[in-house]
Symmetry: none
Subunit: 279 residues, 2 copies
DNA sequence: AAATTGATTGCATAATACGCAAATAAGAAC
DNA sequence: GTTCTTATTTGCGTATTATGCAATCAATTT
């Protein structure tokens, strides 16, 4: 086996780590990058390794529950342990944990469905979902992602997240909107208009959409920010009634209050709740 | 390094896999099992490995983004990539499809007919059906729905689904039972008795009926839950032999195991209080 | 039926992961 | 401020084992 002298290639080895493990974990990342089940050959090609090597890695992943092999076709997919690892990682985020505790209450008092979303590489991602009293059966589920411009949740991240992470994604959505000819009532597909919108969202602490992303679905969203003013979580209420949008609606007030209470005010105060004790 | 001759120890190696990778993944699982950041020593002790070995694994995990090292004190925690991996696994994880793959096997080893049911607006609805070796011709088919109180499947949904969605339906069935004069051996038509029954079902992870809904038909059912502890699917075994009901019957054990394997265990922090609780 | 594609498994060998122990760093005690 | 204690990190030699190759097995197509 050859050791890498220069790690200028993508996926170099870890300093002080283990080469075999680095290689294996890169396979895991490849497996994740597929949209669904993948064949051994595809995974091996994408990872740039011989299939036999990848096959042995996958055997261990399956043993650990991180991967599964479907039926007899031999295609590989992520397994249950991968999901549990993810929820464990998410639950380490204290903002998510604390907001989750009260999300059900928020859904109850507002009479709407509620969700929490965090930023992942696919964009805003649902990590918690509380269906309201009116069981609105939507296509939204755990792990769903939203667009930046066409969703209330996406617009909140657009307004609070630093530009670099958003730039390419925003550019794509703007171009796509321009080519398809979509336009918004409150937004034109140019940077100045986007800037005006995000400023407004930050000022009002609310973003909303009125049935554009999913026809007939009304949603309002607000940001939970950390001590640096960066967004940690977006809280979103959604339903089918337009009164959600009115400036003085109880639901809107409750949402802003909820987000404020779970945010840490920019002028950091001393009584800051420390993170939970280990064990 | 010593190779395991006997894999009777917990956490044996994978057949055809890689020993180093198995060891590393067991460390990852240990890291997940903590509620928060953990020290190297703790992780090593819990994993039963020398700290130096674990340290090298963690270096690779950090390189892959699966773990992070907080501050300079050197405590380790799950990283961003772990969360990404999880949402990828969840978003492509369809509980029905996943469970369907093994439903035939479950029917085979238990010698019973098996079905999967989800909640729809008509109540518990059969979405997959596997007739057992003894082709019991019943009136159950794809799209069939069950009552809440007179079926094992219905009782599982009754025990796991939030009250609002069930309230009217439950009320109807209770009233109807009272008017017709039906009674159950394990249930009286009042809220307190229903509560006692559902508590028992959640504790034992099993609901059953003994030929009441369909005369002569014995059924046991268990819940597959998602990472919020909400029911996604009910798995039901049914046949004509009463040994299904015995606490130590192989079929019952296999059913509970099946449901557990397909459920995603919610972490402690996100554990939702099942019943109403004052804050 | 033949052929093609893809998954799995022996095998020999060289590469490397392991354990041990030294070194470094961080806290605690005084 | 200095010493003591505890915990994390890193060399190093060797035996273990991960690897590439190629054969085998299975499944699907021509």
């Amino acid at each position: 086996m050859r050791a890498k002298e220069t790690d200028d290639e993508s996926g170099g080895t870890a300093p002080g780590g283990i080469q075999a493990l680095d290689a294996a974990l890169s396979v895991l990342r490849v497996l994740r990058s597929f949209d669904g089940p993948a064949t051994l050959s595809d995974i091996a090609r994408e990872a740039g390794m011989p299939p036999s090597k990848v096959h042995r890695y996958l055997a261990s992943f399956i043993h650990a529950g991180l991967a599964v092999q479907k039926e007899r076709s031999g295609r590989y997919d992520l397994g249950r342990e991968a999901a549990e690892l993810g929820v464990a990682a998410i639950s380490r985020n204290n903002f998510v944990v604390r907001a989750s505790d009260e999300l059900e209450e928020l859904a109850g008092v507002t009479g709407q469905a509620a969700l929490l979303a965090v930023w992942s590489h696919n964009g805003p991602t649902v990590v918690r979902l509380e269906r309201g009293p009116h069981l609105t059966t939507t296509s939204i589920g755990l792990g769903s992602t939203f667009p930046l411009l066409d969703s209330a949740t996406g617009r909140v991240f657009l307004s609070y997240l630093p530009s670099p992470q958003l730039a390419v994604r925003l550019q794509n959505e703007l171009e796509r909107a321009a080519s398809v000819g979509v336009s918004w009532p409150d937004l034109n597909p140019n940077p100045a208009s986007v800037e005006a919108l995000t400023t407004k969202i930050r000022r009002e602490r609310i973003a909303y959409v009125d049935g554009r992303y999913i026809p007939g679905l009304i949603a309002i969203s607000s940001a939970i920010t950390n001590w640096q003013g960066e967004i940690e979580v977006a809280v979103t209420l959604f339903g089918t009634h337009r009164e959600l949008l009115q400036p003085d609606s109880p639901a809107r007030t409750a949402l802003i209050d909820f987000a404020s209470r779970h945010s840490i005010a920019p002028p950091a105060q001393l009584g800051k709740p420390r993170d939970a004790r280990a064990r």
